[in-house]
C-alpha cells in the first residue's frame, strides 16, 4: 500500500499509427506525495499536456495505470471519470475556461452546483475561495470585465471549490505577463499549502520550478528525473 496521492505506472500513449505514429508518452512512471507541488517541465511537444490529460482521465493511455488517491483512473468508465473529476481532480487551464455570462462568484460555484452543495454552503465556500485568491471585491464581475490574471485566479478558485485532492494545471501562466504570472504562481503555491492540495503543474517557467517541491522533467515522452 503506497502513501502517494498520485501514482503513474508504465504509462504510454501513442497518437496515430504506422510511420506517422507519435509516441507522446513512453513508459512513464512516478509518484507524487500528498500536499506537494510538482512542476512538470519540458519543451513544447514533450508530452506534458498528454501526461496531465491521462492523469486527470481526460485521455486514456495505451498502457500503464494511473492511481489518484487510491482510485485507479485508467480503469474507470465515463461516469466514474466524471465522479473523479467532480470529487478528486481539478483542472486549471492556460485559457481559464470560465463561463462568460456568469459572474466570478457564479463561476467559482459551478463545481459546487455539480456536487449538489447546499446554497448556503456554496455561498460560504465561494466567498472563502474568492477571498483566498484576492478577488472578494470582484465577485459580481464577469470574466470579460476582469484582467487575464484575475480570470486565472477565478479559475484557480473554481478548481479548488470542490476541495479536490489533486490539482492539475496546464501552463496556468502561459497567457499572463510575467508579473501577473508570478502572482498566480504564488497563489498556487499558497493554496497547496493552505488547502493541503496536491498539485501537478505543467510549466516552462523557472520561477514556478523554483516554487515547486519537486520538478519532473519530461522529454520525448519519457521522464528524465
Amino acid at each position: 500500500m503506497t502513501s502517494a496521492l498520485l501514482t503513474v505506472r508504465g504509462v504510454s500513449r501513442t497518437f496515430g499509427s504506422g510511420p506517422a505514429a507519435v509516441h507522446a508518452l513512453s513508459d512513464v512512471s512516478f509518484e507524487v506525495e500528498p500536499g506537494t507541488m510538482v512542476a512538470l517541465v519540458g519543451r513544447s511537444g514533450s508530452g506534458k499536456t498528454t501526461l496531465l490529460n491521462v492523469i486527470g482521465g481526460l485521455d486514456r493511455p495505451d498502457s500503464g495505470t494511473v492511481t489518484v488517491d487510491g482510485l485507479e483512473v485508467t480503469g474507470l468508465d465515463e461516469d466514474g471519470l466524471s465522479q473523479l473529476r467532480r470529487d478528486k481532480v481539478s483542472y486549471v487551464f492556460q485559457t481559464f475556461g470560465l463561463i462568460p455570462v456568469l459572474s466570478a462568484a457564479e463561476n467559482v460555484g459551478v463545481p459546487l452546483r455539480l456536487a449538489r452543495a447546499e446554497p448556503a454552503e456554496r455561498e460560504r465556500r465561494v466567498g472563502l475561495l474568492l477571498d483566498l485568491v484576492g478577488l472578494a471585491d470582484h465577485a459580481q464581475q464577469r470574466p470579460g470585465e476582469l484582467s487575464g490574471g484575475q480570470q486565472q485566479r477565478v479559475a484557480i478558485a473554481r478548481a479548488l471549490a470542490a476541495s479536490p485532492r489533486l490539482l492539475v494545471a496546464d501552463e496556468p501562466t502561459g497567457q499572463l505577463d510575467a508579473e501577473t504570472g508570478l502572482a498566480v504562481m504564488g497563489l498556487l503555491r499558497g493554496v497547496v499549502e493552505s488547502e493541503g492540495v496536491t498539485a501537478v503543474v505543467a510549466t516552462h517557467d523557472p520561477v514556478m520550478m523554483a516554487l515547486a517541491d519537486r520538478v519532473i522533467r519530461i522529454s520525448d515522452g519519457r521522464v528524465l528525473t
Partner: protein
C-alpha cells in the same frame, strides 16, 4: 493588381467542402424554383386563358349581324331575291375582312346563320315554338344531311324574281325537319306546320322533307341544336323549341315571308381556345374592343355590321384573375428568396467562423484585405454560379424555359455574402482597436453600438411598415408592396430576436436561483449565444413565411369551399323549367323524403330583378321562399343564417317585408322600396333585416312566400335547394327536367381552374421549401456554434459533468431559437396573412363575394413546425454527441487551447 494566393483558395475549399456544397444545393434549389416559376406562371396563364374561353363557350363567341337591304320591287311590293344565299355568304366574307389578323388567328371558321323569329305552333300543344334556320359554314359548305323522307326544301315558286304585295297572303316556305322533330310534331313531308307570331300573324310553313344529319357532331349544329332535337326552355321556361331547316332555294321565300326585323342574318365566330395564349389574349382583348368600337349601333336599321361578343369581358375577368395571381406568385417568390438569402448568409457565417483563425493568420502574415476578399469571391463565384446554372438548367428542362429575373439578384447577393462575412471577420481580427481604458468611454462605445443597431432596426421596420401600407392602400401592384410579407416577417423577427438576450438573461437569472445545475449551464450557454442575431432571425423568418404560405393555402381551400356554398346555396340546387314549375314544391317534398337529405326547400329565384329605392334603380337577386324552412336549411350549412326579425312573414298584402343586402349599402333595414311590375304598378316592400350573402352577387333580397303571395306575387317556385350527402342523388332520382348544380362540382371546377390550382401548388411548394430552409438554418446555426459549445461542454466535463448530461445542456442552448421560431413563426405568419389577405384579393380566385376569412391551420402548422424543429434539434444534439464521443476530451481542450 490584387495577387491571389491560389493554394489558400484551394485549401479553404477543400477544408470546407461540406458547407460549400450545402450553399451550392440551396442556390441550386432556389434557382430552380425562382427560374421555373415565371415560365410556369406564364404557361398557367396561357392555360387559364384557354380554360376561361373554353368555359365561357357562347359568351366567348364573336357574333356579327347586319340588317337586310330593302327588297322592294318596281311595283312597290317585295321582290324575291333568288341569289340571297350568295348575299348571305358574302356577309361572312365581309365580316372576316373586318377582323384583325390577331382575331382571325384566334377564331374558328365562322358559321353564317339566318334565323327567323320564334313562332308559336298552333296545333293545340302547349308552348311549342318553331324557328326557321339557315346554316352556312365559312368554308362554303353546310352541315350535310341525308333526306330520309321527302326532299330538300325547294323554292315556293318557279318565278325566281317574283314580286309580291306587301300585305298579301302568307308566303309559303319549304323547310326540312329532323327525324326526331318530325316524330315529336307528328308531321310528314308535304304537311304544313301551323304557326303564328306573337301578334297572331300566321305563316305558311311546309315540310318538304325529313332529314338525318350526316355528322350530328358538326359544330354548326351546335349553334342551332333545336334543328336536330326539340330544345326546352329556349323561349321561356316551359317552352319547347323546334327548328325548320332552310336551304339555299327556300331562303329567298323565307325572306319574303317575314318582315326584315323578323329574319335575322348573322355570322358567328367561335373562339378557338387551343390557339390562345395569355399574351395573344391581351392583344385579342384590344382587337375585340376596337371591333366593338367600330360596330354600328344595333338599333340602327341599315346593312352595316353590328358586332357583339362577351369575349372582351371574359378576357377582362381573366386579366383580373391573372393580375391577382401574378403578384401573389411574386409575393411567395420574394418570401422564398428572403428565406433562402438568410440561410445562405447563415452558411457564410458558418464558413467564416470555421475560417476566422486562418483568415486572421493570413492577414497577420501580410495578406491585404482586398486580396482576401478577392480569394473568397473567387470561391463564392465558383460555388454559386455553377449551382445557379444547374438550377436554371433543371428549370429549363422541367418547364421549357427559365427566367433570370428573380435568380440574378439572388445569385449576386449569395455570391457577395461569403466574401463580405469573411473580409469583415479578417478585418475585425486584425484591427488595432482596443477597448477604452476608462468606464465612461466603454459605456459610450456600448451606447454607440446600441444606437447603430437601433437605427438598423428602425430602418428595417420602417421599410416593412411602408411596404404594408403600400400594399393595403394601393394594392399589390407595386414592387415594394410585393415584398411586404417578406419584409414584415423580417422586421418582426428582428424585433423578436432583439428580445432574445434579455429573455435568456432573465432565464439565466432564474436558473441561478435554482439548484439544478444543468438548467443553469443550458441557460448560460443560451445567454452567451443569444446575441448572435442571424440564426434566430433566419429560422424565425423562414418559419413565419412558411406559415404565411400555409395560411394562404388553407384560406384559399376554405374560400373555395365557402365560395361553392355561396354560389349554390346548398349541397345541390335544381332550377326547373317553367312547364314543370307547378311541380317544384312536389319535387322538393320528394327530395326531402329521400335518404341522405337533411332538408329541401322550394323557392322562386329571380337572378336580376329590378327594384326602386329613392328613385334609384337596384338590381338584385330576389328569393321568394318559405323563410322558416329556408332558415332551417341554412342552419345545416356553413352559410350565414337567415335572421328572423318580427314581421318577416306578415302577410297583410300592403307591404312585403324583406331581408336585404346590397354591396353599396343602398338598401338597408328601415328603408322602404318597391318592386315595379310590368303592369305599371309596383309592390311596396320594406327592408326589415339583413339578408345572408347567397349567390355570386353582393345584392340579395329575401321575402317570405306567404307575404309575397298576399301582395300579389303569386310566383311558382322554380328552384329547389337541398342539403345532405344524398341531395344531388335525390334530385336526380326525381327525374325532374332542369339544371342541377352541386356544391361539390362547383368547388371542384374552381379548385381545378388552372390559376387556382397553380397558385395552390405554389403555396405548398413555397411552404415546404421555406420550412426546409428554416430547418436548414437551424442546423447551420447549431453547426456554427458547435466548436464553442463543444469547448464549453468539455470544460464542464472537466468539472464533473456526466457525458449524458451534456445532451441536455446542448439542447438547452439551442432551445431558445427553436422555441422563438416555433411559437412566433406561426403567429407571425398568421398575422401577415390576416394583414395582407384583402390586398392579395384571394376572393378573385375563390369566387367569393368578400375577402375570405383567414384560416390558420394551427394544429398542422404547430405540429409540423414543432415536430420538425424538435427532430432537427435531437438530430443535431445526437449527432454532435456521437462525434464528441469519438474525440477524447483532452483533444477538444488541446485544440481549443
Amino acid at each position: 493588381m490584387i495577387a491571389l494566393h491560389w493554394p489558400s483558395v484551394r485549401g479553404r475549399a477543400r477544408a470546407d467542402a461540406g458547407p460549400l456544397l450545402l450553399v451550392a444545393v440551396v442556390v441550386a434549389v432556389v434557382a430552380l424554383l425562382a427560374g421555373a416559376t415565371p415560365p410556369v406562371l406564364r404557361a398557367t396563364s396561357d392555360e387559364a386563358t384557354r380554360d376561361a374561353v373554353r368555359r365561357a363557350a357562347d359568351d366567348a363567341a364573336v357574333r356579327v349581324e347586319a340588317d337586310w337591304p330593302d327588297d322592294y320591287g318596281p311595283t312597290g311590293g317585295r321582290q324575291r331575291a333568288p341569289l340571297l344565299a350568295q348575299d348571305v355568304a358574302s356577309l361572312g366574307h365581309l365580316a372576316q375582312d373586318d377582323l384583325s389578323p390577331e382575331l382571325q388567328a384566334a377564331l374558328q371558321t365562322p358559321v353564317t346563320t339566318v334565323s327567323s323569329i320564334s313562332m308559336a305552333v298552333t296545333d293545340g300543344s302547349v308552348q311549342r315554338r318553331l324557328q326557321l334556320e339557315y346554316l352556312r359554314r365559312g368554308d362554303g359548305g353546310d352541315p350535310r344531311v341525308t333526306w330520309v323522307a321527302g326532299k330538300a326544301p325547294g323554292p315556293s315558286t318557279s318565278d325566281d324574281s317574283i314580286e309580291i304585295p306587301l300585305n298579301g297572303a302568307p308566303w309559303p316556305i319549304h323547310v326540312g325537319v329532323s327525324e326526331a322533330e318530325a316524330a315529336a310534331l307528328g308531321v310528314r313531308p308535304g304537311d304544313r306546320i301551323p304557326v303564328q307570331d306573337d301578334r297572331r300573324t300566321p305563316y305558311d310553313v311546309r315540310v318538304s322533307g325529313i332529314f338525318r344529319p350526316v355528322d350530328p357532331g358538326d359544330p354548326a349544329w351546335r349553334l342551332v341544336p333545336w334543328l336536330l332535337q326539340p330544345a326546352a326552355n329556349r323561349d321561356g321556361l316551359g317552352s319547347t323549341r323546334f327548328g325548320g331547316l332552310l336551304s339555299d332555294e327556300s331562303l329567298p321565300d323565307a325572306r319574303l315571308a317575314f318582315r326584315s326585323d323578323q329574319l335575322r342574318r348573322g355570322v358567328r365566330f367561335d373562339a378557338d381556345p387551343d390557339k390562345l395564349t395569355w399574351a395573344s389574349a391581351q392583344n385579342l382583348a384590344d382587337s375585340v374592343a376596337t371591333l366593338k368600337g367600330l360596330s354600328a349601333v344595333s338599333a340602327e336599321r341599315d346593312t352595316s355590321l353590328k358586332w357583339a361578343t362577351q369575349l372582351d369581358s371574359v378576357l377582362r375577368d381573366l386579366r383580373n384573375q391573372i393580375a391577382t395571381a401574378t403578384p401573389q406568385a411574386s409575393v411567395l417568390l420574394l418570401a422564398l428568396l428572403a428565406g433562402a438569402l438568410l440561410v445562405v448568409s447563415l452558411a457564410a457565417d458558418l464558413l467564416t467562423r470555421r475560417r476566422t483563425t486562418a483568415l486572421a493568420t493570413a492577414r497577420q502574415r501580410g495578406a491585404a484585405l482586398p486580396a482576401l476578399a478577392a480569394e473568397l469571391a473567387v470561391e463564392s463565384v465558383a460555388v454559386t454560379v455553377p449551382a445557379a446554372a444547374i438550377g436554371l438548367a433543371l428549370a429549363a428542362v422541367l418547364t421549357g424555359s427559365a427566367s433570370l429575373i428573380w435568380v440574378l439578384p439572388f445569385v449576386v447577393l449569395a455570391i457577395a455574402a461569403g466574401p463580405a462575412f469573411g473580409t469583415l471577420a479578417a478585418a475585425r481580427a486584425t484591427r488595432d482597436k482596443r477597448a477604452p481604458a476608462n468606464r465612461s468611454a466603454r459605456r459610450w462605445a456600448r451606447r454607440t453600438v446600441r444606437l447603430r443597431r437601433a437605427a438598423i432596426d428602425a430602418a428595417v421596420v420602417l421599410l416593412a411598415v411602408g411596404a404594408l401600407v403600400a400594399l393595403r392602400q394601393r394594392g399589390i401592384e407595386t414592387g415594394l408592396a410585393s415584398a411586404a410579407p417578406a419584409l414584415g416577417a423580417l422586421a418582426v423577427s428582428l424585433l423578436l430576436v432583439r428580445l432574445l438576450p434579455p429573455a435568456t438573461g432573465a432565464v439565466l437569472r432564474l436558473s441561478l436561483r435554482s439548484r439544478r445545475s444543468l438548467g443553469l449551464f443550458a441557460a448560460a450557454r443560451a445567454a452567451a449565444t443569444s446575441s448572435r442575431m442571424l440564426p434566430a432571425l433566419a429560422v424565425t423568418t423562414a418559419i413565419a413565411l412558411a406559415s404565411f404560405a400555409v395560411t394562404l393555402q388553407a384560406t384559399t381551400d376554405r374560400g373555395l369551399s365557402d365560395g361553392a356554398w355561396q354560389a349554390v346555396g346548398a349541397d345541390a340546387r335544381l332550377t326547373v323549367g317553367l312547364e314543370a314549375s307547378g311541380s317544384t314544391a312536389d319535387i322538393a317534398t320528394r327530395v326531402a323524403a329521400a335518404p341522405g337529405v337533411e332538408a329541401a326547400v322550394p323557392a322562386r329565384v329571380v337572378e336580376s330583378e329590378r327594384f326602386i329605392a329613392d328613385s334609384t334603380s337596384i338590381v338584385a337577386r330576389l328569393i321568394v321562399v318559405d323563410t322558416a324552412a329556408f332558415r332551417r336549411l341554412l342552419a345545416g350549412t356553413p352559410l350565414p343564417g337567415l335572421p328572423a326579425p318580427a314581421g318577416l312573414t306578415a302577410a297583410d298584402g300592403d307591404t312585403v317585408p324583406a331581408l336585404v343586402r346590397t354591396g353599396d349599402g343602398s338598401l338597408r333595414p328601415g328603408l322602404d322600396f318597391r318592386l315595379p311590375l310590368q303592369t305599371n304598378s309596383a309592390i311596396q316592400m320594406a327592408a326589415i333585416g339583413v339578408a345572408p350573402a347567397i349567390g355570386t352577387g353582393e345584392d340579395v333580397i329575401v321575402v317570405d312566400v306567404a307575404a309575397a303571395k298576399a301582395a300579389g306575387l303569386d310566383w311558382e317556385p322554380d328552384t329547389v335547394w337541398a342539403t345532405g350527402s344524398g341531395a344531388a342523388a335525390a334530385i336526380r332520382a326525381t327525374g325532374a327536367d332542369g339544371r342541377l348544380v352541386t356544391r361539390a362540382e362547383v368547388a371542384e371546377d374552381r379548385r381545378t381552374a388552372p390559376l387556382t390550382e397553380g397558385l395552390v401548388r405554389l403555396y405548398v411548394i413555397a411552404a415546404v421549401t421555406l420550412l426546409a430552409l428554416g430547418l436548414l438554418g437551424f442546423a447551420l446555426a447549431a453547426a456554427a456554434g458547435a466548436p464553442e459549445r463543444w469547448e464549453t461542454l468539455a470544460r464542464l466535463r472537466t468539472l464533473g459533468l456526466r457525458p449524458r448530461d451534456t445532451h441536455r445542456v446542448a439542447a438547452g442552448e439551442l432551445l431558445p431559437v427553436a422555441v422563438v421560431a416555433a411559437v412566433s413563426g406561426p403567429l407571425l405568419g398568421a398575422l401577415l396573412a390576416w394583414l395582407t389577405l384583402g390586398p392579395l384579393a384571394l376572393n378573385v380566385l375563390t369566387g367569393q363575394v368578400a375577402v375570405p376569412v383567414t384560416v390558420v391551420p394551427w394544429w398542422t402548422v404547430e405540429l409540423v413546425t414543432v415536430g420538425a424543429l424538435a427532430a432537427v434539434l435531437l438530430a443535431v444534439v445526437g449527432g454532435e454527441s456521437v462525434v464528441r464521443r469519438k474525440r477524447r476530451l483532452g483533444d477538444v481542450l488541446r485544440v481549443s487551447s
